[in-house]
């Protein structure tokens, strides 16, 4: 199953990067969101899947899923959320201010 999940994360990265390479801002940001999903799934997969109960202590269980990757993902999700929100607002502002949402047109010259 880990192999399949690795492939799925790989697909998420692929589509994420593909979107990142597009011209329109919305697609680019969707790309970053996909990449973060892929990254989180990778973390989970790397800690082995389904090797025990959810990491909440119970008396009769002695095998738990690795809790550390979950903690890391949680931190990472929150951080990505912060960055993505900022990015969204910024994208909106940049697109309004520069009157285009095409990254190819969002270029400058040497002396500004």
């Amino acid at each position: 199953m880990e192999i399949i999940m690795s492939i799925l994360s790989g697909v998420l990265f692929t589509t994420g990067v593909y979107n990142l390479l597009q011209k329109q801002l919305l697609r680019i940001i969707i790309g970053t969101a996909l990449i973060s999903h892929g990254a989180h799934l990778f973390i989970l997969t790397m800690g082995k899947l389904k090797r025990g109960a959810p990491p909440i202590l119970e008396y009769h269980v002695d095998q738990y899923t690795d809790p550390l990757p979950q903690a890391l993902i949680l931190t990472s999700i929150v951080i990505s959320f912060g960055v993505t929100s900022l990015l969204l607002v910024l994208a909106y502002r940049a697109a309004k201010e520069n009157e285009t949402d095409n990254m190819d047109l969002l270029r400058g010259n040497e002396n500004e």
Binding site: L20, L25, I28, T32, I35, S36, G38, A39, H40, F42, I43, T45, M46, G47, L68, P69, L72, T75, S76, I79, S80, G82, V83, L86, L87, L90, A91, R93, A94, E97, N98, M103, L106, R107, G108, E110, N111, E112
Partner: protein
């Protein structure tokens, strides 16, 4: 005493939060920010003397033993860099007031600024790989906030690219941490180092190492990864540019230095030779960039790149001379980049343009600024007796003694071109006929110059007084080349 290690992070953190509440009361905020920066500098100075006398301070946060909790390690390397960071912070905070608009100051400049310092210090101090990621995010988030501060059209546009690229590399960073965790089962740097050493960095580990190198290399602006750097660094206010130029890329190179001496130092014939190549290309393309433009801010922004190349060269050569050279150069470059960004910021403000073709004869109006630029150019190019020379000398000695002749020659030639790129600003901007159409702001000029001169003094001191600093540079190199010391200090085995 182990709690000392957290102070450089906590002091700016707490004060930044407090400042956020009073953000409209500028006089108060300014003076508190100045005071905090100075206090922090002294605290760090105290810690570094403590570390110097007693060895690394290891703080197990929350009282959890290594490797389970997050470990903060204040060793000579991290504290040297934190100290340098805080020196720059003091200069920046005194410069900020005269450079920023009131609106920008009100919109939490000082909060972001202190958080940036906290993030950078944290990145230097932490001994936990995932925690390094978190501190990276803190400093990046603060930098995002600073780069958009003001909301100009160009700022919005360039910051978008900056954030996107950094976001990508952050995600790659977490993923790589996950891979590493899968192999060695830990995220504590000392333990990773121990375990990697145990299996002799075999199999997939070198690949993971190279991925980490690319993560840090993107932040450090190395050869095939630096494209994002120059533009976003010149759009914000000069004081922000100075902080970026001085601190952000250096965190990346610090991470490479740390990770590739502590953890992935077991296959140098592959990894470190690869670094030498990358370093050479970084040097060459960096100076080419610096010569390509007439925008003075861009010239300095491009100059970040060859400096990083020099440092990577030291890591690649991987002997005591070269590593101590890298450390020395790191400190030197943090200071001199801050100086140069502050100077060109002042020039652009006073001349009303950053286009070199539209300037002339500024020396008639601002002689002190001109001479500061001249001296910084010489410092930057590594001409004795200033700080750049000591670093470069060590790096070249290291390279020559390993027989890496080509990279050494590239380094020498690049020094010439670096000097040329800065002297162009001096010759074209400061020399020439007096320009009487210029409105002269002597008073602002003076206020902007004081922090610059303050910083430049450190560059000179680092060179002339090298005897005071070099021995600790050498001991840091020795320490880095013997990762057991670090591992033992953290894991206490």
């Amino acid at each position: 005493m182990s709690n000392l290690a957290v102070l450089p992070i906590v002091i700016p953190l707490i004060s930044s939060i407090i400042l956020a509440f009073f953000h409209k009361k500028l006089p108060l905020v300014r003076s508190v920010a100045k005071l905090v920066s100075i206090i922090n500098l002294f605290v760090v100075g105290f810690i570094i003397t403590y570390v110097y006398n007693n060895g690394p301070v290891v703080l197990e946060s929350g009282g959890w033993d290594a490797p389970f909790g997050i470990i903060l390690v204040a060793d000579m390397l991290s504290m040297t860099l934190v100290l340098t960071t805080n020196i720059i912070a003091v200069a920046a905070v005194f410069y900020a007031q005269h450079s920023l608009s009131q609106k920008q100051e009100e919109f939490y400049f000082y909060t972001f600024f202190l958080l940036l310092i906290a993030g950078v210090s944290g990145a230097f101090i932490t001994g936990d790989l995932f925690n390094l990621f978190v501190f990276f995010e803190v400093l990046l988030m603060a930098s995002y906030a600073l780069i958009v501060l003001g909301g100009e059209k160009v700022q919005l546009r360039e910051s978008l690219k900056y954030i996107l690229i950094n976001l990508f590399s952050s995600m790659l960073f977490v993923t790589t941490i996950a891979f590493l965790y899968s192999v060695v089962g830990t995220i504590n740097m000392a333990q990773i180092a121990q375990r990697v050493q145990e299996v002799d960095q075999q199999g997939v580990l070198t690949t993971i190492g190279i991925l980490l190198f690319f993560v840090f290399g993107t932040k450090a602006a190395l050869f095939p990864l630096y494209y994002w750097l120059p533009k976003p660094y010149i759009v914000p206010n000069p004081v922000v540019s100075a902080l970026f130029g001085a601190l952000l890329t250096k965190v990346g190179i610090y991470s490479i230095l740390r990770v590739f001496t502590l953890i992935f130092g077991h296959n140098p014939s592959f990894t470190h030779n690869f670094f030498i190549w990358i370093a050479g290309l970084t040097l060459v393309f960096g100076v080419i960039g610096a010569l390509s433009t007439n925008n003075i801010k861009l010239i300095i922004a491009y100059n970040i790149i060859p400096a990083v190349g020099f440092m990577l060269m030291g890591i690649g050569v991987f002997n005591e001379a070269s590593i101590s050279g890298t450390v020395y150069y790191l400190v030197h470059d943090m200071i001199i980049k801050a100086v140069l960004f502050l100077i060109v910021g002042a020039i652009a403000y006073l001349a009303g343009t950053s286009d070199l073709r539209k300037m002339k004869g500024l020396i008639h109006h601002y002689p002190l600024l001109g001479w500061l630029l001249f001296v910084s150019g010489i410092v930057l190019a590594g001409i004795p007796p200033f700080s750049g020379f000591i670093g470069k000398l060590l790096l070249l000695q290291g390279a020559f003694s390993e027989g890496e002749i080509i990279i050494a020659i590239v380094g020498l030639l690049c020094s010439l071109l670096i000097l040329t790129s800065v002297m162009r600003i001096f010759i074209r901007g400061f020399w020439g006929e007096r320009d009487d159409s210029l409105t002269v702001h002597k008073k602002t000029a003076r206020k902007l110059t004081i922090p610059i001169a303050f910083l430049l003094c450190f560059s000179i001191l680092l060179g002339v007084g090298a005897e005071l600093f070099y021995p600790s540079g050498a001991s840091i190199a020795n320490y880095l080349l013997n990762p057991e010391i670090y591992i033992e200090a953290v894991l206490k085995e």
